[in-house]
């Protein structure tokens, strides 16, 4: 990803993927598109990293994958959230919120 705070983003990639997929099952490029949309182009997703992350999350049991036929009789891999994945998303979300508010507090502090 090309955002300035690269390792922050990388740390949250999993969370973003899980959140995106929580709304509806999606394939790889769909996730990319969503991320770029919501971030208004600030976050650029590296396809290799994304697909590897999807592989990893699937092995971890948080995503479920299924192949669907596309229009031109190719196949596309769609990912959806599992129940364990939903729980994981909740945990990561609250963890992130805690951290973000802590950092915000520090940045606001004057002395």
């Amino acid at each position: 990803m090309d955002a300035p705070n690269t390792d922050v983003i990388q740390g949250t990639l999993d969370m973003l993927i899980l959140k995106t997929v929580s709304l509806e099952p999606m394939h790889g490029f769909g996730i990319t598109r969503r991320v770029e949309q919501v971030s208004r182009g600030v976050f650029k997703v590296n396809p290799g990293s994304l697909l590897t992350a999807l592989n990893r999350l699937e092995r971890a049991g948080w995503l479920e994958a299924e192949w669907r036929q596309t229009a031109n009789s190719r196949r596309a891999k769609y990912y959806s959230l599992t129940r364990a994945g939903r729980k994981q998303l909740e945990e990561e979300t609250s963890s992130w919120s805690r951290r973000a508010s802590a950092v915000a507090r520090i940045l606001k502090a004057e002395a």
């Binding site: 396809p47 290799g48 590897t52 990893r56 092995r59 196949r75 994981q88």
Partner: protein, 885 residues
């Protein structure tokens, strides 16, 4: 998170790689399609859209690879690929691989064998429950370890609070009779708690109980427990043996128990049969209950530590109670000496073992250095290949992994061969090992040893591969074009040269050790034993059984045997003695002379007692110095006479004529013996011990009959061949009395240095191997160097250098390295020789002759190693060499 999924996906990747790849390819392909569609939606044409999408993606292959690379199955795959590749490489250079593998096999094999010998002694706990709680306890009289008396044992049992159980034991050598071949067995008389102390119970039958150990009653009943080996050997593992009676010394004894298979009696490894002591609890002071002849073993309570237990023993010794009367010779005024059984076992052999372990480590190091050098030499020729592979995209980590895979594979082959080698040598090790090597029965290549070997092999593989891999790493640095980079080359050379120097140094250390041991053994055998060992056959004849409880009968038996043996053709002299030099016997008594004051406190008054038949001195070839030898007139009822050895006389009766002096053998309440003769000194325990004071008397003049006597037979030629005839002669007198320990005196002399000779054997083997390896190392280094410098040689030759100059060049290079190695090695040997000090005899550890000799040997060998490459270098023709490029 989900172990199952990880496993399943990974396995799928391994088993059905094409399907997994297809999935990834499809997914990436679809990604590109969607990306292109989104570009199209923005208005680009289909082709432009596709191109834009691909541009954004980067390389499709790269992305596919990136996704594919995730997962544990990749590590497995790449490892397998590495191994396959490594195997292919090894096959390409089979000779190199073979030499390397064999070298490693030697090192690893030797290490494994030695580890298996050292393991039971130094590392494994004793084969008893809670073995660290077992202690051996001695009477510490005079600061030395003295066997305890039965009275002491009884007092300790009653008064101690730190011990769970205590037991005493002494050797027993009953003759198994009533069977086809009477056999003298090795066993022990023990107190009833013996096996309880050890913590092992009989597998069949029952253990001893207090009821089995009442005071001795000649009418019995007697009980015994036998070992598993005896049960199988003599009784065919017959389970009905328990409860049956066997004949020991003509007495019926009931077998009540059989010890389990694999029961290891570290206290007395040869023992196969145990019976109870049957001592008299009234403990008459002049009875044997108060003699120092029992070994005491005890088990400390779990909640008490050994130091406290030891401390309590000392307090008991100090505080004498009225209830426990102690005679003056067992006053315990010097307290007890107590050590854990484990420590005791290793105490005596630890120095020798440490030395041997050191030698093995040296050998292993030399082997590794050799192989590293070999690989480095190979590495030089692979530089090109590695650079190309890097250019093709192989990461450096991958290349290093591959190089290491090669050396690990090599090491594994070496390790496997090494295990085979160790297996075969371990048996030889056990046979050749000196009897004092503790727990030699437990020397076996088992799981622990194999685990050790596996670990060692891995470490070796990594170690040996390190330098070549690093070199490969340097060579594959980006920009390292496939050409001869002189900087890399000289870096190589320096490493390899240092390695050769190290090899030579290590070889020198081992050679010095072997040399010192060799001279020790030579010096040892140069020591005069005091008798003439040539063509002397010896054997121990024992009388056992009720019949011989009468001294008269016993003496008459031995006299008849002597007469019969003298008739055997070829026998020129025959005699009996109660104690044979270099047989392991150590029967000594305090000897006090009438005319000299009682020996000062530090002076050890003991001398070995020999009860001999007339003609003993002549039979053994012991020279008579003054006076007369013992003869047939010196029988029972005649005046008591004795003969002593000359240095004993000189030391204890300075300035006096020893003839006519009177002495006591043993307590002062005994009779006076008059010295009638002085003979030459004879060594009793070992050639290394120079002081062996001896007093000789005739058998009938001793207060009891020695029922086990050594027969010494001198023959004209080949004494050993007379053994069967002599056995027959003895059997004709009485076929039931066992004859054992048949050997010539020459064999005994040789065997007396068994432990030194064993160490010598090992060091010789190691040193020779080290020497060969060092020579090979030097040779291959120089050989490689000559090949690499062929061009240089050609140039020099063209510029006018003579053949001799070129040869000198090579020799100079080789001998400089050797010289350095020798220098360092001499220093190292001087330090390392400390470990050998206990084994040396007659040579100091810094013996200059040995060091000089070894250095010269190494020098000669390396000159030889230089010769071939030098000759090759001299033959280089400038025209050929300069074309070499």
């Amino acid at each position: 998170m989900s172990l199952w999924r990880e496993l399943a996906r990974g396995l799928r990747g391994l088993i059905n790689r094409p399907a997994a790849d297809r999935d990834i390819a499809d997914e990436v392909e679809q990604y590109v399609d969607e990306a292109a569609a989104s570009f199209e939606a923005r208005g680009l044409s289909p082709e432009e859209a596709r191109r834009a999408a691909l541009r954004e993606l980067g390389s499709v292959t790269a992305v596919r690879e990136q996704v594919r690379a995730y997962g544990w199955e990749n590590i497995v795959e790449t490892t397998l690929a590495d191994v396959r590749y490594a195997a292919r490489r090894l096959r390409r250079y089979p000779i190199h691989a073979l030499v390397a593998a064999l070298t490693l096999a030697l090192g690893i094999g030797a290490s494994t064998a030695i580890f298996s010998a050292v393991n039971p002694v130094l590392f494994q706990p004793l084969p008893y429950p809670d073995p660290q709680r077992l202690m051996l306890i001695w009477d510490g009289q005079g600061g030395s370890r003295l066997d305890v008396t039965f009275g002491t044992y009884r007092e300790l049992i009653a008064r101690n609070r730190s011990f769970n159980a205590m037991a005493v034991m002494r050797p027993m050598q009953p003759t198994l009779a009533g069977v086809a071949e009477p056999e003298r067995l090795d066993g022990e008389y023990v107190s009833a708690d013996y096996f309880r102390v050890l913590g092992v119970r009989p597998a069949l039958g029952r253990d001893f109980e207090a009821a089995d150990d009442p005071p001795y009653d000649p009418n019995g009943p007697f009980v015994a427990i036998v070992s598993d080996t005896l049960w199988r050997r003599r009784f065919n593992a017959d389970p009905t043996l328990v409860g049956r009676q066997i004949l020991l010394n003509d007495i019926p004894v009931t077998v009540i128990g059989i010890m389990p298979t694999g029961f290891e009696n570290v206290l007395s490894p040869q023992s196969e049969i145990w019976s109870t002591l049957r001592y008299d609890p009234a403990l008459p002071f002049n009875g044997r209950e108060w003699g120092h002849h029992l070994r005491l073993v005890a088990r400390v309570r779990p909640e008490i530590d050994l130091d406290r237990a030891s401390h309590e023993l000392q307090e008991i010794a100090k505080a004498q109670l009225a209830d426990f009367e102690r005679p003056q010779w067992a006053s315990l005024q010097d307290g007890f000496i107590a050590h854990s059984l484990q420590d005791e076992l290793t105490r005596s052999v630890r120095p020798a073992l440490v030395a041997i372990v050191g030698a093995v480590i040296l050998l292993l190091t030399i082997a590794c250095v050799n192989v590293t050098n070999l690989l480095l030499a190979q590495g030089a020729s692979r530089r090109g290949e590695l650079s190309v592979r890097t250019a093709l995209g192989a990461s450096r980590a991958r290349i290093i992994r591959q190089l290491l895979a090669e050396t690990l594979l090599l090491a594994s082959i070496g390790g496997a061969l090494g295990i085979v080698l160790a297996h075969t040598t371990v048996d030889a090790l056990v046979t050749l090992s000196p009897p004092e090597l503790p727990r030699s029965g437990a020397i076996v290549v088992d799981r622990t040893v194999l685990a050790f070997t596996a670990g060692l092999t891995t470490v070796i593989g990594l170690l040996v591969g390190l330098l070549p891999a690093l070199n490969g790493f340097r060579a594959s640095a980006p920009g390292g074009a496939p050409q001869q980079s002189t900087r890399i080359a000289s870096g190589h050379q320096l490493t390899r040269r240092s390695l050769v120097v190290v090899q030579v140094a290590l070889a020198l250390v081992l050679l010095v050790a072997a040399g010192l041991l060799l001279r020790s053994v030579q010096r040892l055998f140069a020591m005069p034993p005091g008798f003439d060992p040539t063509e002397r056959l010896t054997m121990q004849v024992q009388v056992a059984g009720q019949r011989f409880r009468d001294a008269e009968t016993s003496h008459r038996f031995f006299d008849s045997v002597l007469e019969a043996v003298r008739q055997v053709p070829g026998v020129t002299a025959a005699a009996f003695t109660s104690q044979l030099p270099l047989s392991g016997d150590e029967e000594a008594y305090g000897v006090h002379f009438e005319s000299t004051p009682p020996a000062a406190a530090e002076e050890d008054p003991s001398a070995y007692r020999y009860a001999v038949s007339p003609g003993y001195f002549a039979a053994m070839g012991i020279p008579l110095r003054t006076g007369r030898a013992l003869d047939s007139h010196d029988g029972a009822g005649a005046p008591l006479v004795a003969v002593i050895n000359e240095s004993f006389a000189r030391r204890r009766l300075p300035g006096l004529n020893p003839i006519g002096q009177r002495l006591h053998i043993g307590p002062n309440s005994g009779p006076w013996f008059t010295v009638v003769g002085v003979v030459g000194d004879v060594t009793q325990t070992s050639l290394a011990v120079t002081r062996s004071d001896a007093v000789y008397i005739t058998a009938p003049q001793w207060r009891f009959s020695d029922n086990a006597r050594w027969l010494v037979v001198r023959s004209q030629a080949d004494a050993a061949a007379l053994a069967p005839a002599i056995r027959r002669a003895i059997a004709a007198i009485d076929r039931n009395q066992p004859i054992i320990r048949v050997a010539t005196m020459e064999e005994r002399v040789r065997a007396s240095a068994a432990d030194r000779r064993f160490a010598l054997l090992l060091f010789e083997a190691f040193a020779t191997t080290a020497l060969i390896l060092a020579a090979i190392g030097t040779y291959s280094l120089l050989s490689g160097s000559v090949t690499e410098r062929t061009r240089e040689m050609g140039v020099r030759s063209a510029l006018g250098a003579s053949r001799l100059d070129i040869v000198a060049l090579v020799f100079r290079q080789g001998l400089t390295l050797t010289g350095l190695g020798i220098g360092i090695g001499l220093g190292g040997a001087a330090v390392a020789s400390r470990a050998l000090v206990t084994l040396l005899f007659g040579v100091t550890r810094l013996d200059s002759a040995t060091y000089a000799g070894v250095a010269t040997l190494l020098l000669l060998v390396s000159i030889l190693a230089c010769a071939m490459p030098a000759w090759r270098a001299a033959r280089v023709r400038p025209s050929v060499a300069l074309r070499f490029e």
